[in-house]
């Protein structure tokens, strides 16, 4: 499941990069920083990524999760800080639902 989630995130970032016509998110990997501390996304872009991810997770796994966390805007502990942490976070939410 972890690989599927990571692929969803990476595909989304590639699309976002094309949309933004930038190279901040080019060739995203597990280690790609997303938000805070050198991350490529500002808070508006993060909100957009979260919205798209929720929809894709819902389509892929048939589970409605909400990517909202009290640490969302934290520089150090946000689940949105990189692709790996976000993958783990989503996996955790899906496990709780089941």
């Amino acid at each position: 499941m972890s690989e599927e989630i990571e692929k969803i995130i990476v595909d989304l970032l590639i699309e976002l990069n094309e949309e933004l016509e930038g190279n901040l998110l080019e060739n995203p990997t597990k280690k790609t920083k997303l938000y805070g501390g050198g991350g490529a996304l500002d808070s508006l872009a993060l909100v957009s990524v979260i919205t798209d991810l929720e929809e894709r997770i819902s389509d892929e796994f048939d589970e409605d999760i909400v990517l909202a966390d009290e640490k969302a805007m934290s520089q150090k502990t946000s689940p949105f800080r990189n692709v790996k942490s976000l993958t783990i976070y989503i996996q955790k939410l899906l496990k709780v639902q089941n």
């Binding site: 909100v47 957009s48 979260i50 919205t51 929720e54 409605d64 909400v66 909202a68």
Partner: protein, 233 residues
């Protein structure tokens, strides 16, 4: 293309009236209430849920997005009232009122804003009350829940403005619905007397303000609270 409007609390009262009104104007109306719907129309969808149940609200919004691909307007109409001295108000009553009035408005606003963000268009109308502006005795908890909605409305109007989403609130005076049926007549009379225009509000008064807020031409109107009847803070 038909506009899609989501209205909470459409089983009776103002919510039902508004749902039927927007259906008559050719909108697609998505409604909800805790019990089965009472509107039969091919352009109407009803969801049975508690507005403070996050999971059910998320499901409702995603189902709507899947069927219609967009949500243009959200009316956070569902609400419950309670008239009581605060010293005799139970903890459970406070929880129920805040859950339905504030949490319901919060969850629907958050989930529907996600859809509106992607389409770069949206109109959200929240509901407050003149009891909040008047600091009306006997309505402390109800008015506080609406006071929270007022502040929330104004703050999120800034957060979603970049996406061309407006968020405003209407503060109706008493309208003759179930919500006030248990309030003593003399209390209602005293309240009407505080208004500049001393009469009950009507559905027409409410529709008028909502129509203004959701009009395409109102794109520069956001974070505003309009009280009916000449009440002000």
């Amino acid at each position: 293309m038909k506009k899609v409007i989501l209205i909470t609390g459409t089983r009776k009262g103002i919510g039902k009236e508004l749902a039927e009104y927007y259906l008559s104007l050719g909108f697609i109306v998505i409604g909800c209430s805790r019990s089965p719907g009472t509107i039969v129309n091919s352009d109407y969808r009803h969801h049975e849920l508690d507005v403070s149940n996050e999971k059910d609200v998320v499901k409702m919004v995603r189902t709507t997005k899947k069927e219609f691909s967009r949500i243009d307007i959200l009316l956070n109409n569902a609400g419950i009232a309670s008239m009581n001295h605060f010293l005799t108000t139970s903890y459970n009553t406070v929880q129920n009122i805040f859950n339905t009035n504030f949490l319901g408005t919060f969850i629907f606003s958050r989930e529907v804003s996600k859809v509106m963000m992607k389409q770069k268009y949206g109109r959200i109308v929240n509901y407050t009350t003149v009891a909040s502006a008047l600091r009306l005795e006997g309505e402390a908890v109800y008015a506080a829940s609406k006071g929270a909605i007022e502040n929330f409305t104004q703050t999120i109007s800034k957060e979603v403005a970049p996406y061309n989403i407006t968020v405003n609130a209407i503060g109706p005076t008493p309208v003759e619905t179930d919500l006030i049926k248990t309030v003593p007549k003399d209390k209602i009379a005293a309240l009407l007397d505080k208004q500049a225009i001393k009469r009950f509000g009507t559905f027409e008064d409410i529709k008028n303000v909502i129509d203004f807020f959701i009009d395409d031409k109102s794109e520069f109107i956001t974070g505003q609270i309009i009280y009916l009847g000449g009440i002000h803070n």
